[in-house]
Amino acid sequence: MKFLDIDEFKSLCSKIRKSKEDKSNDLCIIVSSGTCGQAKRSLAVIDALQESLKKHNLDKKVDLRITGCHGFCQVEPIVIINPENIFYQNVKPEDTGEIVSEAIINKKVIDRLLYVDPKTGKKIKYEKDIPFYQKQVRTLLANNVLIDPTKIGDYIGIKGYAALCEVLKTMKAEEVIYEVKKSGLRGRGGAGFPTGLKWEFCRKAKGDVKYIVCNADEGDPGAYMNRSLLEGNPHSVLEGMLIGAYAIGSSEGFIYVRHEYPLAVKNVKIAITQMEEYGLLGKGILGTEFDFDIEVIMGAGAFVCGEETALIASIEGKKGEPRQRPPFPAQKGIWKKPTNINNVETWANIPLIINKGAEWFSEIGTEGSKGTKIFSLVGKINNTGLVEVPMGITLREMVYDIGGGIPNGKKFKAVQTGGPSGGCVPEELLDTSVDYESLKALGSIMGSGGMVVMDEDTCMVDTAKYFLEFLQEESCGKCLTCREGIERLLEILTGITEGTGKEEDIELLKELGELVKDTSMCGLGQTAPNPLLSTIRYFKDEYEQHIKYKNCPAAVCKEIISSPCQHTCPIDTEVPVYISLIARGRFKEAFDIIWKDNPLPSVCARVCHHPCEFKCQLGKFGDPISIRGLKRFVTDYALKEGFKPSCKTEKTKKEKVAVIGSGPAGLTASYYLARKGYSVTVFESLSVLGGALAAYIPGYRLPRDILNADIKNIRNTGVEIKTNVTVGKDILFDELRDKYDAIFIATGAHKSLKLGIPNENTAGVLHAMDFLKDINLGKEVKIGKRVGVIGGGNAAVDAARVAARIKGCEKVFIIYRRTINEMPAIKEEVDAAIEEKIEMQLLTAPTKILTKDGKITGIECVKMRLGEMDESGRKRPIPIKGSEFVVEVDSLIVVAIGEQPDVSFLDGNKFEISKHNTIVVNHETFVTNVPGVFAGGDVVKGPNTVIEAMSSGKIAAEMIDKYLQGKPVVREYKVTRPSMYIEPVELTEEEVMEAERPAMPCLSVSERVNNFNEVELGFTEQAAIREARRCVRCDLETGDGKKQFKEEVENVKNKT
């Protein structure tokens, strides 16, 4: 039924549209089945639906529409039930029976298949209410839901080919070009050249034979916008090409589609066949003088063929190599004839512009970038998928509002736009508008629309290396700067990721990067250095960390980190070694390995916040190894069996060192200094040893006898400890300077900050640190029945859990101004607090303390909501006006919002003190500005963790040793390596299937009431060995690790 008359065709289109309108209230099941849906078994869902419908004799009554991608790939396959428009997500073949029986027949809504908004927890019925879709403007992609791409009738039904008819009937070629120019449409392939202008050049070029091309090569890793348009709505692209061909004066077109898109190729070919049937292609289209034929040509796997001159060469059957422009393809393209090449998305916009008008189009977007753009939002993001947004939306809106933020509570790091030719944009610049000029100004590009989100576990140096590796593979190799330049950039960068980088490397990378960018012949080379240059620009410190400090903060670069756990540990504990020893039952050796680097292991096994576990590789797709639990097992076993650390020490040196403070920093420093042979004297102002460990950390977390067992081992090295001696009072600081050859100040940070709210000094208001200290030192503390605790850090949670244990206390509240996800306290502590029935008053801030007769009656609070991000990277809490309410508490509130050091004892000495009252030191060597005096721990960093304090003590000891021996006081940095490699264990298949992280056995809540018994009980031997066997041994993946292990296997083989 070839149509040879425009009006005849138009009247058919009207009929089809009318009949679709009439059917709009009919039952229809829509199933998304693009390549993304098919990867999640949408084809099986479709088969099951068809079977189910047949079973109920509904296959003729209910329309089953199979469409392309709906955009929300995270929750594919999507099934929408019309006419009600109910949106079901993550549908499995097993769900189809219920869909037919409940949703179709009984007209009920199936709750469990609805989308749940993670912020509110509410279920959502309609697509328009889902946050992912709300800020999108889906002028192109929305049509994917409305049509079956293999049915031309469906396309006609949504006004398809109306634009073509309009153009052929009423518009001259020049008028079409004028309309496209007026719209402001710019090429969507990446360069953003004004489309109307490009068409005009081609039209004006000399010659009768002209070609148009649709560039569907889409080579950027992670980009699939074009694929979804071709799979889901091929006619929109084809109609655009027809209109373009008419405007330019071309009668032959090509669709150059990459080989790896079979479904797109299939659907495009079906569409072309249907167009030919209707007379929309071929000679004399719809009775006019306009001829047009389209050929589909598949690529052969080369990314460079996305570049237009390489693409032309490929179509001509030659090697896909770019050539210099001018002459531009508009003058001399395929077979030297004028050729116009546009991207899939550009073509798809054309029918819209004709139908709705250039003015409509130019009202969307910004001044310089009109219309919408489709992006593939992928990477470390909650809502992965294809998003269509108006130009001018900010990156922040895309990442947080549409993308739903970063999964697993990780912190955002960068977003990469434009694929391997683009650049990385850091957090500070997230408010940048998404348009051609703004992105270019940042050192990135719009590109074809790839948007990869990265979090704190992504290494930016490794990312630059990844993209350079890709581009080196894909470079055609013709021009020297691209070929050799990229190779050398990669060489230098690889050295940096392996720990052999040099200071000069960054400048050389920049110099060479600029060369490749400016002098390469084609777009591939010209944009290849973008990821590298943008990461150097915004993440320079990360490069410096790799080069100078041999540190990969994201714990990714294998040759530097060996295993992420050991690398991340501030005291460099050889985690994989002791875990693999536990796996083999060699507990004494495991104990020795731990003691080598950690003189307070039983303590850490209970209170460390385990940064190692956050970087454990297993944690990326499952549960991390319970490293702290395993350490606990070893130290408990050692205590039981009476293992002693093997370290005999003698005073071999004459120098004497004074350590002020017996907290974790001071104890660690003393231990290592004593082992080096120095006489060490520790001055402790309290009567108990351990600093914060003894004074503040509650006994149910760290029993006093466990702490003392570790301290005893430290004392056995000969460290002298004087208690009840306060420097500045019982002995002056200057006296110490006279008597000792070096001093290490580790006095911590214990002065509580005032909250600054009225009535803070009322009777019954206690400060957290004082409260905890009094409890720990055995003093009697009176608190009332209802206790409020203000704050969200460890001190607050400790105070709350302690208060809950005191006889007479019936209810404890924690009042925190943000949500539970933002509480800085260790997650296990927060979970335990909730277990122990402590009530969390979240998004609440105190405004006034209410008193009566001089005693507390309650706290006036106001509800908060989360607004924009602040400098700490968290959303700023904003009070909700008029939401004030009172939390009734009697007698006591324990206030805990932060502590500062007390450095008054240093008065008279010329120390540099910061505005937070911390001692200023060289952050690498811990030297103060006073010769011979070092400082570390919280007195330098402010309130921080136990392990960080121990780390400063360990490093300071090394620096003090250098100082006393007259050596230069500088740090030497090396890549992380374990001191030995233990043969890995082999797991049975069963073990692999059943492997999971064990829960730490704890006292039941009822057993914890009114006592301070240790809550965590520790693993059994069996559980510990099982968990240790789960470790995937990242230490064996470095070159050294592989070699070592191969050697050992050889040795074993040779012995047998």
Binding site: V304, L480, T481, R483, E484, D518, S520
Partner: protein, 241 residues
């Protein structure tokens, strides 16, 4: 005739000329490697880059392939161009430091160190040989094969060619295999300079030994003289007397 601005001089050029041809006509020397007057222009080595356009529209193009156009503004010796040329030569040295042609370029443009690992490759992939074989010898026996790092020049499928007449034109035109550098440090990154101004060989001979293209001996002889104070080995670079 067209008018272009060549290094701030307004000059007249023929339509159809490349920037390189225009510069040569006006006596401005632009270094090249993969360009040859008898062969088509390929634009692969990037050594002939010049800066065109002004302000933020300025960009770098290979002058051997860019046709002149009315009003074109060209800078052949801008600061950036000079620096880029040096870096390009440095990249070439890193790949083929045994090539005399490249060493000559290095000494002429004052490239004295190579900051990259030396590869000691035999081929700079300039394509002169393939174009020679195709355009002048009409044989088409060799061509480029593979992509990126794996790119090389060979016969189809590495099979012995039936159309190759072993004429040797490819070897003749090749900048890396024609003359192995005989200089004093052939294994080093930078050989020490083939261009000089004085002729110490005249101390020994009656005629200059290197005619139009001075040879390495001279400058080296000078520096050798400076270095040796009490050396018994007083032989000059020519190892005579």
């Amino acid at each position: 005739m067209l008018k272009i601005k060549l290094n701030r001089l307004e000059v007249q050029v023929e339509e159809g000329w490349t920037i390189l041809e225009a510069a040569e006509f006006y006596g401005i020397e632009i270094p090249t490697l993969c360009h040859h007057d008898g062969l088509s222009d390929y634009g692969a080595c990037r050594l002939c880059i010049v800066e065109i356009g002004e302000g933020k529209d300025a960009k770098f193009v290979s002058s051997c392939t860019y046709p002149v156009e009315e009003g074109l503004v060209v800078r052949t010796h801008s600061k950036k161009v000079i620096n880029y040329r040096k870096l390009i030569i440095e990249l070439m040295l890193a790949r083929c430091h045994t090539s005399k042609t490249i060493q000559d370029l290095a000494s002429k443009y004052n490239v004295t160190s190579v900051r990259f690992k030396l590869k000691s490759d035999d081929c700079i992939l300039c394509g002169l040989c393939t174009r020679m074989c195709e355009e002048q010898m009409d044989a088409r026996a060799i061509g480029f094969v593979n992509r990126g790092k794996e790119r090389k020049i060979t016969t189809p499928f590495d099979i012995k060619s039936d159309v190759c007449r072993t004429c040797g034109a490819c070897m003749y035109i090749c900048p890396t295999c024609q003359l192995r550098c005989q200089g004093p440090e052939p294994s080093g990154a930078v050989c020490g300079g083939c261009l000089n101004i004085e002729y110490p060989c005249l101390d020994v001979y009656d005629d200059v030994h290197c005619y139009l293209d001075p040879c390495a001996a001279c400058l080296l002889e000078e520096s050798r003289k400076k270095k040796s104070t009490s050396n018994t080995e007083e032989k000059n670079v020519f190892n005579k007397d």
